[in-house]
Symmetry: C4
Subunit: 281 residues, 4 copies
């Protein structure tokens, strides 16, 4: 009897923390989202030395509040799952752990740069946003479009890489160290900067032959930038014209309280990974 009550209590907690179907679950997700955003803003502001000098104490207090909440959340997540190990060693489990410990670690670490890196770990919480907002159908569609044209994109990136290696080496031989083309890797970096039309200008060809070669690379870049755009456009146009509802896009936020698996069909009653019932009838 007690076990069942405890189980039911655990179920409820699981529903609140892992799912977004109930009002409490939604509220929890919203609070979590706000705190994650606050945490990210804090990390950014702390990195601005003038602001950190002025408001250090406020930042520090805010960081403690957020860290305590995330610590509580981390243990709540462990407690409310049937198999805590699966959560702890899952991608989001590791993210949750790493993004919570920096403040505790800061007591033991010496050296400002090491500390900086550790503090930046808190930014990993940003991946939680992806988890929280995963039920937005649109982002799934975007991901699907990208995954569908994966082969095309790989071939494209491979072609770009070969062009960059050849052009980079040519520019290195033509321009040499005086123009900033210090070695082949730097020349390849310059070539990527040019082909993607970013063009910082920290390295730029000076000799007429180098400028001529660069012009050819840029005009090639014209054609090359058209390829990914064409791929994505075609993918979007196809889906816009077909207009059939894609059944592979999930909006069900039910997550199995046994194995934590979370991409179930909208009408699923049992976890399709371990067979555990999803609803608390």
């Amino acid at each position: 009897m007690e076990t069942q009550q405890r189980k039911s209590w655990k179920r409820k907690m699981h529903e609140i923390i892992y799912e977004a179907d109930t009002p409490h679950g939604k509220l929890f997700d919203v609070i979590l989202l706000v705190l994650i955003l606050a945490s990210i803003v804090l990390v950014m502001l702390e990195s601005v030395s003038t602001l950190d000098a002025k408001y250090h104490d406020i930042f520090y207090a805010g960081e403690w509040i957020i860290t305590l909440f995330f610590t509580f959340e981390y243990f709540a997540r462990i407690v409310s799952v049937n198999k805590p190990r699966k959560y702890i060693f899952s991608f989001y489990g590791i993210i949750d752990f790493l993004s919570t410990i920096p403040l505790y670690l800061s007591f033991f670490i010496v050296g400002s740069h090491a500390l900086l890196t550790v503090r930046a770990l808190r930014l990993l919480r940003i991946f939680r946003i992806l988890k929280v907002t995963r039920y937005i159908g649109e982002s799934n569609k975007l991901t699907k479009a990208l995954v569908d044209s994966k082969t095309k994109i790989s071939v494209f990136l491979f072609t770009v890489l070969i062009i960059c290696i050849i052009s980079g080496t040519a520019m290195y031989l033509v321009e040499g160290e005086e123009s900033g083309f210090r070695n082949i890797p730097v020349s390849i970096y310059w070539c990527i900067v040019t082909l993607t039309t970013v063009g910082y200008g920290d390295i730029a060809p000076i000799t007429p032959l180098g400028q001529f070669l660069a012009s050819i690379i840029m005009i090639m870049g014209y054609g090359i930038i058209a390829v990914p755009t064409g791929i994505v456009s075609a993918e979007y146009t196809k889906s816009a014209l077909k207009d059939t509802p894609d059944k592979r896009i999930h909006t069900n936020t039910q997550s199995c309280s046994n194995c934590n698996h979370s991409t179930h069909d909208d009408d699923a009653n049992f976890c399709d990974n371990c067979g555990y019932p999803l609803h608390d009838d």
Copy 2:
């Protein structure tokens, strides 16, 4: 009797100022457009110190002529509407007010930078152009296409932001202050400059690891810039292939003289907001 005559006079004025169906209404709109453009050009030229030193008096005179016309127009708009309050506190009412007062305010304000900001308010008149040219069907179509792909664009912007925050922080840790990556917000700014392929070059990675990371960000930018293009292309292709006239696009410029509501159907006889008759039969 007198009231009716006055009303008819008011109606006519309303027709001229608020609508573009009659020759007088069109003429008024054209004059307004020309004066707005002249006003914008004046504000720009005044900001060029060499020109301002030379032609200050001409600029000043021109500004007075324009301001007097806009003052007159502002009061005419108030007088010719049944419910002046609605106009005064509407978006365009506030725009009209703010863009007219700078010259009057300049008598009371001391300090060149405050004065500059106040004078720049005159540029708000540019939004009037949007109002005047609202009956161009094409711009409505453009707006519609953007609105239709709003969700897609939001998801896209959100993804870009997350990529920028993560990459920006990584670059801040890798490059540090020596290369100009002073703090995380600045690094994120650099990341946006790079991902959008703008690439000023005021901040650029120097260390090999930083250049390697930057290369990956740039090549990601390749794929990312393809997404909005793909969305808009698909939207345009869909509408180009379907080719059905879109009924939601308004070309009726009739504006209610009672409540100032202005997006009525082409065959509307009464205001669809307050029921007041639109035509002066």
Copy 3:
């Protein structure tokens, strides 16, 4: 009898110079094309001071040969048309005249910069290439696609301009003269450089608020650059899917020897402008 012979001689000359249907006409066009290209390369090389110092005499000789040919061609064109006036005051007539005289004018002109401008007139011959290559169907298709989406492009450019004026003024107020935003026109120039993702970096925001504003402008640029691409993509996709031969594209190079009109249907026997017979039966 003599008149008729003269006429037939004139006809032949007209066929060679103005048309590209006969072997002689094609040969003439090819020679013309080669000389135009040689002429353009010469103007470019002369502008390089180190090359000009070394090979001045060769350049000068080459320029004389080309100028003499174009002078001969100019008079031949006048002689072989029925109504020389129409040719002389046509677009290509003026181009031909202006691009031929620089060398003659150089005897009368003093001052190196004025001379430079006059010499650059020779580059106008490049427009002749357009005339010579006008029978390439593809370039007509390209032009047609651009013309078809004219309204869309105008609305787009207008929107870009308004965004640039507003953003430019905002950046001018925020950044001020210290960062290079000297006046509103320069700020608008910066804004165009940024929105088009060119990003020279000669002017770049320094203040945090300015960099924040710039980030928003850049991300807007993302969306904006998608619009012309979407328009052209839709236009191309439509024509690629419909695949119907477009009859408005001309490949007939017959040009009327009376009025010089040149865009006739493929099966035309008489000039559709003046009724003069096109063929020499």
Copy 4:
């Protein structure tokens, strides 16, 4: 009898080296790919002077191992073909020869820059990757899409070139040498940098008129960059909507052991170039 055995041995070798249908053939291709990549990485690292100073001996040893393998491979290729001459003077034969000799040549060459150029020849091996990976259907599709829109791309490039020549000359006349527009070729280079939206910023207009002209060029660049994208998008959309398997795409890696011809249909039994049997029945 002996001849036949030798022939069979030759056949097997041919199968391993030139084809990728058997396990041995695939393994050979994978080893080759790995060594090519290792070789490319080595050339790059050697160009970094700090790394070369530290690990010179390791690099040198690695280079000898790779060169010996490629030397062996080169002779094996010659031996296993019926008509060695055809291979030796084919594109890939020359590539193989040139990319193998640099280390042997380095004993005879004096002068660091000449040596550098010779060593860079090793990078030609990158083209072998293309040969090895030629059986990826996707890359053939990409090439096909590009080839199909060849005419469109030529017309486009030609238009870009004319715009660059005219704009470049105009900017040269307007800006002059003070702003870095030293001569017309450099101005054209600047114009390509601007039109492709690369925008290094090493050369940038300073005068108001120059900045105004540059703005127009940039906005034109907007429209121009849309053209190749539109072409490729249309091409991709067409093929995505038609979805018919393209029979011209080869996945057969059989290569004729007589004449070395390698693009045969999937069900070919005899070389379609010389009639020699493809399979070893």
